[in-house]
């Protein structure tokens, strides 16, 4: 199709063609065309099929507000063709029609069956019986529903960026008011950014004639000169708390934090409601004017304008000037012929209302009526100028509100929150929009997105859904891709008429506009994928030697190195080495450090000697066990506290919070990161370690539960003789920067003893053989020390108040109801962790840990049992999830080396 003569304001570059494909067929457009304009220029009139009825749909708004031109572009679904510039090689496909846009099987189906007549709420009323048929219905419905196709094999091959931006002023909307506001702000010296969704700056100025286009260019230049940062085309996704506005441009999300947001979001032209108002060829006046002014396409041979106000008259003159034949302006208002139309020779039918648009697949005539008089006008382009409404979504999201001004028949801003300003026309035109005339056959569409008709809305009101919010939930009106932009006003008018009231918020109400403002892909929301990962200083050594690096909280840790049984055996028989750098480590120092620890822990720390280490648990004020670890005394006023790996951050917060409450003269410093820690364990641990240090490791000089400073392999270390895994062992703490060096030295020193690195799984077996509790696995949020088998840790005779004291005293008075005990499996079967302890088939407890111990040749575990079953040797019955019933007996002492001879050797 040839384009109209070149004119200021056009977006096309006549010198450059761009080739793309539409449904496999090659199409040639001009650089600057949108996908919609290029296709329309090529003669395409049907762009999609509607959501429910699969009716053919053509361009309607040409401004991204309606669903009619949604297409699939290069595999991306739900792309608005009218807002997307064409690019060389683009592949554009239709959506929601099968097998083709011309012949859509579901259209026939939708028209045929009453059940498939799909009246409002049909899914509450149909597909119920016969019940056995549901699985067939479901399959069919699933493939019929939805817009567009997602390829489940699709891999993201594009980069989605997120950029943070801070500005003093963010102007949303690049029309006349938005540009003026941005220019003023920038000239005051404020960091200003402006966002405009359209393919050109200027809003309405961009498509309403040469003079308007000139004004738009003038404002755009002034804005650039003033230093306004202009993002166009780009759109604001919504307004979030703290003036956070995501702005989307291509594959980038700009996360704006604005000191002030200026809303210049302008007006949306509304369709009129009458039979056949969804036929291709029935368009909004602003849509037609965009095609004519921005893309210079002669739309239609014989146009009829339907209007409720003077905007329609302006549109008619604009089109006539562009060379489009406008045969009549049908004006719902009574009155004389407007002289502007008289000049152009366009018939001005006043007082007429639309009845019906007719045509097969495309409009060919429109019937209008005035009282008893009916006229049928031949036309291939019906131009609707149905009034405008303001876009209030962003204002409401920002915490503002609107109310209905009955005199002006529009919603106006009510409360505008601090940090937000409204510019431009916040009200819309105050035209009276009458209902269509009676007598039209066929559906009158209120909601194009969801195929909701006036009949549907009226039915919902009759059924009791008598407001917009209620009707919306029943009919789905305003819930489609347009989110009410095309249908909020009209559905409100229809409901008001059905109820016989004024369309104000008391009776009819407004719906809440939720972000995102336009369809948004998840990729854009997700941005670049990255996940913080904590690695110890020995991480790569583990991975290089077959360590299965799995997530343990935020850390990667080796589960095992391929042979967990061998690793476990090595620790018992000779020598093993495990990386425990992930342990939390806190320094508690100061004149009140000892007193602080006495108040935080149920155990005693104030009486600790220097160079000793002691196990302890931390309780909440309700007595529950929060964490466990060790405390070593480095001096009179300096303590070194370790916590569980996953509890490190929480314990730092816990300690610092209580310190803030008590205000003691005590500092808490989190040094988890600074220190690597390794546990060298096994009968040969002393001998191997002695080769690397001058420190006296003999049992008399450095007994169990000792702490000492030593230089090992040239690295300054703290040695703790502590025994989570139950064999002679040393926990060696050193600076993380020297961690890998020390680890390598320890492995080299252990070579003569067949040292094996061991991972988390062998460690679990070893600690279980010692019946050592893992907080969070064997205990839960309600477990307290008396019931958890560690009454010895709680020093109720301490004079000072300590966290949890009151609750534990209360528990002591009440007595134990349940007990954490060890058990041995009667027949070697290992119950799953989580298996129930049962009495007469009823669950009374739970297995929290279980393994088969090769060293001991039996199944062992830890479980919660009722207090009356907790005596040594009590037989208990376990019910495994596999269905098996496993007999076991209670064991209270450690399964392995219960007298700690190996540990203390």
């Amino acid at each position: 199709m040839n384009r109209l003569a070149e004119r200021r304001g056009e977006l096309i570059d006549r010198g450059r063609t761009v080739t793309f494909t539409w449904r496999g067929k090659t199409v040639e457009g001009l650089a600057g065309d949108s996908v919609a304009s290029a296709l329309y220029a090529d003669g395409v009139r049907v762009f999609s099929r509607s959501f429910k009825y699969h009716r053919p749909r053509g361009l309607l708004c040409c401004s991204g507000q309606c669903p009619n031109c949604l297409v699939q572009v290069d595999g991306d679904p739900a792309v608005r063709a009218c807002m997307t510039p064409i690019e060389e090689g683009m592949r554009v496909e239709h959506i929601n029609a099968w097998p083709s846009l011309e012949r859509d099987a579901l259209h026939a189906l939708a028209s045929a069956t009453p059940a498939f007549g799909m009246q409002v709420g049909f899914y509450y009323k149909t597909f119920m019986r016969p019940r056995w048929a549901w699985k067939y219905y479901e399959k069919f419905l699933r493939s019929a529903a939805g817009l567009g196709k997602l390829d489940p094999q699709h891999r993201r091959d594009r980069r989605y960026e997120k950029v943070h931006r801070h500005v003093d002023v963010l102007v949303i909307g690049g029309g006349e008011s938005g540009l003026e506001a941005a220019i003023a702000a920038a000239r005051e010296g404020r960091d200003t950014a402006l966002v405009e969704e359209g393919l050109a700056l200027g809003g309405r100025l961009a498509f309403t004639g040469v003079d308007a286009a000139a004004r738009a260019a003038e404002l755009a230049a002034a804005a650039r000169e003033a230093g306004v940062e202009i993002l166009q085309p780009a759109w604001a996704g919504g307004v979030y708390e703290g003036n956070l506005v995501p702005v989307y441009q291509g594959d980038t999300m700009f996360r704006f934090r604005a000191g002030e947001i200026v809303l210049a979001t302008g007006l949306i032209e509304q369709p009129l409601v009458f039979a056949g108002n969804d036929l291709p060829g029935v368009m909004l006046a602003s849509g037609v004017r965009r095609l004519v002014n921005q893309f210079r396409i002669a739309t239609g041979d014989e146009a009829v304008v339907l209007t409720v106000d003077d905007l329609g008259i302006e549109a008619a003159c604009d089109l006539a000037e562009a060379g489009v034949t406008v045969s009549a302006v049908v004006d719902t208002r009574e009155g004389e012929t407007d002289e502007r139309l008289g000049v152009c020779g366009i018939e001005h039918l006043r007082g007429f209302r639309p009845v019906e648009a007719r045509g097969r697949g495309h409009v060919s005539s429109v019937v209008v009526a005035r009282g008893g008089e009916r006229r049928s006008l031949s036309t291939d382009l019906v131009v609707m100028s149905g009034g405008t409404v303001a876009q209030f979504g962003a204002l409401v999201q920002a915490g503002g509100s609107v109310h209905y001004d009955a005199a002006r028949r529009v919603y106006v801003p009510d409360h505008v929150p601090a940090g937000v300003r409204v510019a431009g026309e916040p009200a819309g035109t105050a035209a009276e929009v009458p209902a269509c005339a009676d007598g039209g056959r066929g559906k009158q569409f209120v909601c194009y997105c969801e195929d909701v008709t006036t009949k549907d809305v009226n039915l919902s009101v009759k059924e009791g859904f008598a407001s917009l919010e209620l009707s919306k939930r029943y009919t789905t009106v305003t819930m489609g891709p347009c989110q009410g932009k095309m249908c909020h006003r009209n559905s409100g008018l229809v409901i008001a008429r059905e109820l016989g009231v004024d369309p104000d918020e008391q009776r009819v109400g407004v719906t809440t506009a939720r972000p995102p403002h336009n369809p948004t892909s998840f990729s854009l929301l997700a941005g670049r994928g990255y996940e913080p990962v904590k690695r110890t200083s020995v991480h790569h050594w583990h991975a290089d030697r077959g360590g299965k690096m799995l997530w343990a909280g935020d850390w990667k840790r080796p589960y095992d190195y391929g042979a967990p049984d061998d690793e476990t055996a090595a620790v018992h028989e000779s020598l093993g080495l495990i990386d425990v750098s992930t342990l939390g480590k806190l320094i508690v120092r100061g004149p009140d450090a000892a007193a602080f620890l006495e108040r935080v822990y149920p155990n005693r720390y104030g009486d600790m000697k220097l160079a000793r280490v002691r196990y302890g648990i931390v309780c909440g004020d309700d007595g529950s066990i929060l964490d466990d670890g060790t405390v070593a005394r480095l001096s009179e006023t300096e303590f070194y506290v370790t916590t569980t790996s996953s509890g490190a951050g929480g314990m730092e917060q816990w300690f610092t919070w209580w310190n803030a409450v008590w205000g003691m003269d005590c500092q808490i410093v989190n040094v988890t990161s600074a220190i690597a820690a390794f546990n060298l364990a096994g009968p040969n641990a002393r001998t191997a370690l002695a080769g690397l240090t001058d420190f006296d490791l003999e049992n008399e000089a450095f007994p169990y539960l000792g702490a000492g400073h030593a230089e090992v392999a040239g690295v300054p270390c703290l040695l703790l003789r502590i025994g989570f895994v139950g064999e002679l062992g040393y926990e060696i703490h050193c600076p993380a920067a020297a961690g890998e060096h020390l680890w390598e030295a320890l492995m080299a020193a252990g070579e003569g003893f067949s040292v094996k690195p061991f991972g988390l799984e062998p460690q679990r077996v070893l600690r279980l053989e010692k019946m050592h509790v893992i907080v969070g696995q064997d205990t839960n949020a309600e477990s307290q020390p008396l019931e958890a088998g560690m009454p010895w840790i709680v020093k109720l005779d301490k004079e000072n108040d300590w966290i949890g004291r009151y609750s534990i005293e209360w528990y002591q008075n009440r007595g134990n109801r349940t007990s954490l005990v060890g058990f041995e499996g009667g027949n070697g079967a290992v119950p799953k962790e989580g298996a129930q302890v049962v009495v007469n088939g009823e669950p009374v407890g739970r297995v929290t840990s279980s393994r088969f111990s090769r060293r001991l040749g039996k199944a062992i575990g830890i479980a919660w049992v009722p207090a009356d079953l907790s005596a040594e040797g009590t037989p208990i019955t376990l019910s495994d999830p596999s269905g098996a019933t496993i007999p076991a007996s209670v064991t209270l002492r450690a399964f392995y080396d219960p007298d700690q001879e190996r540990l203390r050797s």
Binding site: E241, D621, T656, Y806
Partner: protein, 86 residues
């Protein structure tokens, strides 16, 4: 939730830089009154309106402070170091 919260040390930051520490409560001085103890442990006022609460700047200075915030609108009326709310 993306409201801005001012740390007395570091200034205004998005709320996801912080860890929430709950309502400011008053710990009983003894265990004599079991009801008061359990109330302190398990019940919270949960006011719809101004609430005094603890915050920890976990992504930043890692210090505790207190704030008075309207739980309906997330408007923060004041922040202060612990014990400093007026």
């Amino acid at each position: 939730m993306s409201f801005l919260l001012e740390c007395p040390n570091c200034g205004r930051r998005p709320v996801d830089e912080y860890a929430y520490g709950g309502e400011v409560t008053v710990r009983p001085k003894s265990a004599d009154d079991a009801r008061a103890l359990f109330s302190y442990l398990y019940f919270r006022k949960n006011d719809a309106g101004a609430q005094r609460e603890w915050w920890f700047h976990s992504s930043g200075c890692r210090e505790w402070f207190q704030a008075e915030r309207d739980t309906r609108t997330n408007e923060v009326m004041q922040v202060a170091p612990p014990g400093g709310l007026t």
